[in-house]
């Protein structure tokens, strides 16, 4: 937790919308960091409130241009945050923006915490209390969202991996501290070879996590969508109708190897991932009939959005009501789609469901009628409907940044061991790596865990 002693960066524009996106940097090194990744004029020599055209470079491979941008400089206190601020305006694709943000972080910025720009603005006297209160609520909401994200990841291996990583680091720290604080005890101390092997192991584990987190993956992850419905509701037709038009864009954006049976869909720059499409294509799994059976429900719970597709000709309002109740009970985000509206006409179809207050999209998948309404509904649900699309990416990027720091600290530990440094010096970097890990897990207190491990494993005390 620093008060403006470092420089923070984040994407400042709303997720996925618009042709232009802005990355904002704020802090004492904002200009020099931007200059490090900027090909054009020397930004450090430019006056405040000026605009500069140029390119953003990949700091690791300066021959690679990330984007053509305009950079705005706000020096001193005359900025939103009241400290040196740089805004990089690039093209609006989330992929590009994420890459620019990544470049800033590699050049020395730290990923901003939720609401941190506003917080700095407040601390620098730029906002009044009422505005500040709004920000506090925002942070609270964001941390709830982060918790939700964490919960979702709980089902994956991520949190387990982090836990075991932290455990290993604590164990390692405990072994180091053991010979510092308890050198006169009758216990066996680990030798340096064992330490070196252990640290390499931990470093590899962190590196693996980092690799599994590559940005492409993060972007690709997107918003998960499940299409469900009775047999013959037209799920595969809808799927094809949605996919066909977008195929080109999909391959353009993702650019990464595709998981087995996933289909993806890009709507206004936001990625949607259609889950269990294999089942739809073969029509072998009849999800709707298995609702209540744990596995299908689990599948829907995994999805950020559920599209419930039904045949307008054969579905009664009562049946639909029942489905809605179930979805609401499970707190799903869902979109109701009435298919085959071309047969009797849309107005007839609408009449059938006047009793349903929840909005229904009336389409004809076979004729590709009203497909835009589905796309719009998906986009709206994702952006306004409180699904943390961009935040999921940011959260993950934060994890990524934290893990990079973990590896850097561990590298210092390794180097320290080569130099034959004494344990208390190695410990500085081990604790730093634990701190970075704590930024993800929220476990910031380490000394009690270290001592607890020592007391649990070794017979200490005279």
């Amino acid at each position: 937790m620093n008060l403006s002693s470092d420089t923070i960066a984040a994407i400042a524009t709303a997720p996925g919308i618009g042709a232009i996106g802005i990355i904002r940097l704020s802090g004492p090194d904002a200009v020099s960091i931007a200059n490090r990744i900027f090909k054009g004029k020397d930004l450090t020599l430019q006056p405040t409130h000026t605009l500069h055209f140029g390119h953003i470079l990949n700091p690791e491979d300066p021959s690679e241009l990330i984007d053509e941008v305009v950079v705005s400089l706000y020096l001193g206190t005359k900025s939103y945050t009241g400290e040196h601020t740089v805004e990089i305006s690039g093209h609006g694709s989330p992929f590009i923006l994420q890459n620019i943000l990544n470049a800033c972080i590699r050049a020395g910025a730290r990923l901003a915490a939720p609401g941190e720009f506003t917080q700095r603005a407040f601390l620098n006297g730029k906002l009044d209390l009422a505005q500040a209160e709004a920000v506090a609520d925002l942070i609270a909401a964001d941390s709830k969202a982060a918790q939700q994200t964490a919960l979702k990841q709980l089902r994956g291996g991520f949190s387990n991996d982090l836990k075991s990583l932290r455990d290993q680091l604590i164990q390692f720290a405990a072994l180091i501290e053991l010979e510092l604080d308890f050198s006169d005890e009758d216990v066996e101390f680990a030798d340096r070879t064992r330490f070196r092997a252990l640290i390499t192991e931990i470093k590899n584990a962190s590196q693996q996590l980092i690799d599994s987190f590559r940005l492409g993956n993060v972007i690709k992850k997107g918003v998960s969508v499940a299409i469900i419905g009775k047999p013959n509701a037209g799920k595969s037709t809808l799927l094809n109708a949605l996919l066909n038009e977008d195929r080109a864009i999909v391959s353009d954006i993702a650019g990464t190897t595709r998981d087995t049976i996933e289909e993806t869909l890009n709507i206004n720059g936001i990625l949607f991932r259609l889950i269990d499409t294999a089942g739809i294509r073969t029509e072998t799994t009849d999800i709707i009939e298995q609702i209540g059976v744990g596995k299908s429900l689990e599948k829907m719970r995994e999805a950020d959005v559920v599209i419930y597709l039904f045949d307008v000709e054969t579905t009664t309002a009562a049946e639909l009501r029942q489905q809605i109740d179930l979805f609401e009970q499970e707190q799903f985000k869902f979109i109701l789609v009435a298919n085959k509206c071309d047969i009797s006409g849309i107005s007839r179809a609408q009449e059938r469901f006047t009793a349903i207050s929840h909005p229904i999209l009336y389409i004809a998948a076979k004729e590709k009628q009203a497909m835009d309404s589905i796309r719009q509904a998906l986009f709206d649900t994702a952006v306004e409907g409180n699904i943390e699309t961009e935040n999921t990416i940011v959260t993950n990027a934060r994890h990524h940044a934290a893990l990079l720091n973990v590896v850097n600290s561990l590298t210092e530990v390794e180097q320290g061991m080569e130099l034959g440094l004494s344990g208390e010096l190695l410990s500085i970097d081990i604790r730093r790596s634990l701190q970075f890990l704590g930024e993800i897990t929220g476990q910031v207190e380490v000394d009690r865990d270290i001592l607890g491990t020592i007391f649990g494993k070794f017979c200490i005390g005279k």
């Binding site: 937790m1 915490a113 601390l123 510092l180 604080d181 500085i428 017979c459």
Partner: protein, 641 residues
């Protein structure tokens, strides 16, 4: 009987009480020390030793601040060791064996020579409290003694219960009665109290031991650094006359007394197990939790059943006594089991007991009820220090006593509070941990509790603390002047290290000998010293005679200090940077009346904890367990400027 009003009354004459009384009196407060028994002032209730890893640093800090523990430890030591000498300087930790009786006598002597300090022997049974402020104490004899501030240092005496096997009886130490009434009154005033447990091993007649079956553990032979920064406090080990005493079977090395090491065995463990059905710990008669790092022998064999032996340190209790302390054999098993078991330990076959080991349970007040000054949040001018705050150890107690005594004086005289921060002293770490995290086992210092370990070294406590104490009116002028002199010398040595160029032909022979890469071209001496395996004192003979002469003019400790700066600067800088980052947070003051309940954006746990502890700064808030980083961000926003 007592017509005058005191500035400060200190209740209890243990390590915390003695330091508190000395500090307040030395700063000019009219001070009264009340204790149940003036003959047991500064009694070492447990092992006859001061210092150790993390603790030795505290004693050095107490000394640097002008407390007495360092001087008393020096004067009464019978053996000295600098622990962890093979590690970096942040880990070096002074430890001594003490002459238990000489230690107490020296304390009494020093206190008797302290101005402004009165003594009274009686048991305090209650406090006089009026309108939320303490005004004095009431004693068992019915005396009312008035004061502007009261420091409670009751140790293990509050409702103390001693356990040996199935026997249990009230008491504060073996053979001394406990104190009642104070806990009950404090609870009625709104304080929370809880129980802790600790234990102590049997004491043995040294004449009954066969030392030939044990290993010898010697003190430092070449150099005894001691604890005090003042000169002339150490015993003249080389010419000590009081150690030619055949009775105590001294095996003298360098004229220090030494200790012995022996081990338990499976046979010993089996005998101990026969007492488990009468163990107050295993049978649940003891409710309080004991320290995990200082377990009883029964706890060790129970929890680490696969270990077939445990180390025992056989420590003499003084120069002129045959009494032996069996460090590592703390127990509350029935006394006959203790005797039977210990007689299976090599060297102890004919052991004769002075007294059995025992466990003691006592009241403490969870320290989250305190402010940084150790003044209670509930009652103005009432201070707590030592074991009643849930700590263990003479050093931890003494450090708190010192801080409480200083602040009692400061309160009474309207002076600003004295608070040590985590980057300034182990005592700062101790108090910060206590008041923000509390403790549910007796709290002991470990160096790993300090995040700025390379800054808080035993060699630089005077550099860290003496000036502040002098300016506040505690550390004496002589101490201050010695420090100024030392600083001047260190600056000169720093300069010599920085301007001296070393030629390859001067030192390559030496470098080769220690397996370090030879120099290719001339290099600054300060740069050469960065190599981890090069010590200045080993390198010195190879340098030019003029450089040698220049450096040898200084005290070896001053040279060491300068060398440490040179060698470890990069690491210290890392920690200094961390301190700097935290500093902004430490400077953000939270208004005293801040209403956390209103802040629904905070997590419920954070709201409760913050409300209870009421941190003074955002930095402090960030160290409260249960308050997470997003809570801190939210707080930051509401505090504004």
């Amino acid at each position: 009987m007592f017509l005058e009003q005191y500035d400060v009354i200190v209740v209890g004459g243990g390590h915390a009480g003695c330091e508190a009384a000395a500090a307040a009196a030395n700063m000019g407060s009219k001070t009264m020390l009340i204790t149940m028994n003036l003959l047991t002032l500064a009694q070492m209730s447990c092992n006859p030793a001061m210092g150790g890893i993390g603790k030795g640093q505290i004693v050095r800090e107490i000394d640097a601040l002008g407390g007495y523990s360092g001087i008393v430890s020096d004067k009464s030591m019978i053996q000295f060791r600098m622990l962890n000498k093979s590690k970096g300087p942040a880990m070096w930790s002074p430890r001594c064996q003490s002459d238990r009786m000489l230690f107490a006598a020296t304390w009494r002597e020093m206190l008797e020579q302290t101005p402004n300090l009165h003594f009274f022997q009686d048991s305090v049974t209650g406090l006089i409290v009026s309108r939320g402020t303490v005004e004095g104490v009431v004693t068992a004899m019915g005396q009312k003694i008035y004061a502007k501030a009261v420091v409670l240092t009751n140790g293990t005496f509050l409702n103390g219960i001693i356990h040996v096997g199935e026997k249990q009886f009230g008491g504060g130490r073996m053979g001394e009665k406990g104190a009642t009434g104070i806990t009950e009154q404090l609870v009625s005033l709104g304080f929370e109290s809880d129980r802790l447990k600790t234990g102590t091993p049997p004491r043995i007649d040294g004449r009954s031991l066969d030392y030939s079956k044990m290993e010898i553990q010697e003190g430092d032979l070449d150099e005894v650094a001691g604890f005090s920064y003042m000169p002339g406090t150490l015993p003249d080990f080389k010419n000590a006359s009081f150690i030619d005493n055949a009775r105590v079977k001294n095996r003298i090395s360098g004229k220090q007394r030494h200790c012995w090491i022996t081990y338990t065995s499976p046979e010993v463990h089996d005998i101990l197990r026969t007492g488990f059905d009468r163990s107050p710990m295993f049978q649940g008669r003891i409710q309080g939790s004991g320290p995990r790092y200082c377990p009883s022998i029964e706890d060790k064999i129970n929890r680490f059943a696969d270990k077939d032996r445990h180390q025992l340190f056989v420590e003499p209790e003084g120069w002129n006594t045959v009494e032996i302390y069996v460090n590592g054999f703390s127990t509350s098993l029935p006394e006959e089991v203790q005797v039977k078991a210990i007689r299976k330990v090599p060297g102890f076959e004919n052991a004769i007991f002075f007294r059995p080991g025992y466990a003691i349970e006592y009241d403490y007040f969870p320290p989250t009820q305190l402010q940084y000054t150790l003044e209670t949040k509930l009652i103005k001018n009432l201070f707590f220090a030592g074991q009643i705050n849930g700590t263990t150890g003479y050093e931890e107690a003494a450090g708190q006593g010192l801080v409480a005594g200083i602040n009692a004086h400061n309160n009474v005289h309207g002076h600003p509070s004295f608070v040590l921060k985590r980057d300034e002293a182990y005592i700062g770490v101790l108090i910060d941990d206590l008041i923000n995290k509390g403790t549910d086992e007796p709290y002991r210092m470990f160096t790993s509790r300090a995040e700025y370990r390379t800054l808080l070294r035993q060699d630089n406590a005077d550099m860290r603390l003496t000036e502040r104490s002098y300016e506040m009116g505690l550390a004496a002028r002589e101490r201050y002047e010695l420090l100024q002199e030392k600083k001047k010398h260190i600056a000169r040595i720093d300069e010599i290290l920085n301007i001296t160029m070393v030629e390859p032909e001067e030192v390559n022979e030496f470098l080769e000998k220690i397996g370090s890469a030879p120099l290719k071209e001339r290099q600054k001496l300060s740069k050469l010293l960065l190599r981890p395996n090069i010590a200045l004192k080993n390198l010195l003979p190879y340098l030019l005679p003029s450089v040698q002469q220049n450096l040898e003019a200084f005290d070896p400790l001053e040279m060491e200090q300068s060398e440490i700066h040179c060698k470890y600067k990069a690491y210290m800088d890392k920690e200094v940077e961390m301190v700097g980052k935290m500093k902004a947070m430490e400077e953000l003051i939270i208004p005293e009346s801040f209403n956390y309940e209103k802040l629904t954006a905070l997590s419920i746990e954070a709201r409760q904890k913050l409300n209870k502890i009421r941190p003074r700064t955002l930095g402090q808030a960030s160290r409260i367990s249960g308050v997470n980083p997003s809570d801190i961000q939210i707080l930051m926003i509401f505090m504004g400027r």
